[in-house]
């Protein structure tokens, strides 16, 4: 069973968001890394890039496939996890910790309220599996 920390918010595209004031850290969920398999490459944006909510900001690749990563809420990139260049496997090993991807400054904090809670996200992946 995938690990889904309760203090984070989630998207249906399998990103997680940890907010602190008007800043947020973004990564992909344990469920997502498990589905992808061994991550070998992560392509991330540059600091200063701006994205709307639901816009792709990068991609994560396993041996098998490439998946886009989507912006949970609109905002500006203020930091990227450079260590994923050399150690992309951190996305598998510690998706909510060392495997984080970007930090952003949130445009509109109200968008965070529209994200899924841990319980809602777990229900969603159960529904997805049942399809």
């Amino acid at each position: 069973m995938a690990n889904t920390p309760e203090d984070l918010s989630y998207t249906k595209d399998h990103e997680w968001v940890r907010t602190k004031g008007d800043e947020a850290t973004v990564g992909i969920t344990d469920h997502a890394q498990n589905q992808l398999g061994d991550v070998v490459y992560v392509e991330l944006p540059k600091v200063g890039d701006k994205f709307e909510a639901s816009e792709p900001f990068g991609s994560v690749e396993s041996v098998k496939a490439v998946s886009e990563i989507y912006m949970p809420v609109g905002g500006k990139v203020i930091e990227v996890n450079e260590s994923l260049n050399d150690s992309p496997e951190q996305v598998n090993e510690d998706p909510y910790g060392d495997g984080w991807m970007i930090r952003i400054k949130i445009d509109n904090p109200a968008q965070v309220d529209a994200l899924l809670t841990a319980v809602e996200y777990e229900d969603y992946i159960k529904e997805e599996a049942a399809e």
């Binding site: 398999g37 061994d38 490459y41 396993s62 098998k64």
Partner: protein
Amino acid sequence: MLKRTPLYDSHISIGARMVEFAGWEMPVQYSSHVNEHMAVREAAGLFDVSHMGKIEIRGSDALAFTQRITSNDVSKLEDNQVQYSTLLNDDAGILDDLLVYRLNQEYFMLVVNAGTTVSDFEWIRNQVGPANAEVHNTSSAFALLALQGPQAEAILQPLTDHMLDRIPYYWSQRVHVDGIECHVSRTGYTGEDGFEIACYAVDARRLWNRLLITGSDRGLIPCGLAARNTLRLEAAYRLYGHDIDETTTPLEAGLGWVVKLAKGAFIGREALVKQKEEGLKRKLVGFEVLDRAPARDGYPMLLGDEQVGTVTSGSPAPYLKKNIGLAYVSVEHTSVGTELSVGIRGRNVPCRIVETPFHKRARKYD
């Protein structure tokens, strides 16, 4: 409704992740894609490839008929010998790539791709004409297991009385494996030594379980389609529907070695002769990406900003630890060492044309 192999329940019971493949519900991965890939390179892996089609050709004209519908020279085969070949249309477009087993001169078995089994069968049947050849689709009667890797022979030998070292590369033999009637060939799609083992569908579970239990001491693990794909790509084996299809010819695909123009008439021959005279416009080549970003199927091959080709198979190579691929490229840019780019999400990433196969094992039996 997706088709299931006789081993479906076995896969579910050990937690395989199942996916749709060519109309079949198949295991894509059991434990980890990379672990499964490495097991085959370093020890052994067991694959369920029962989805592959099996088409029998029987009758007094079986040899001549098989010769006419395939591009390689079937007359060179002895009983129990196996041959890689292509099935072509009149334009020399590849309808399928396949293994031809000569069981005897009046009995040939074709092992074809899952997604093309029905169309191959219909097409082959329509070519028979007055020839004394019966064509049967026997796919569902048999299961097919692939035991692949340097430990394959050591794992299989204790289960049979037949001396496996007497089965050379691309030969086969009817043998009993743990009392189960099987047809074993030293063939595979991984670039390692190993066997493909056909048995009756009813015996498949027992054979599968027996092999997994016997082989576990030697590092044998079940392997899914994901590992099978990256293993075959490291060996530069073509994948039907990706690297080859009806729009490509064996000459373009670098499969000239299975085209025997001198053998006499066969379907597609005239088109191949013409293509040879006119010269090829494009060729399938192997390339290495000189960057961390993997190339994927469909990405453009570029010279500056001009597109000179298209990737047909691209992936990270788990054993070689490089990003590799196969691509059709305009013939003037196909010499080994040529530097091109591959377009990855709008970025021109450098790559280089290299020799294939990317991975070559030390072959004990050639």
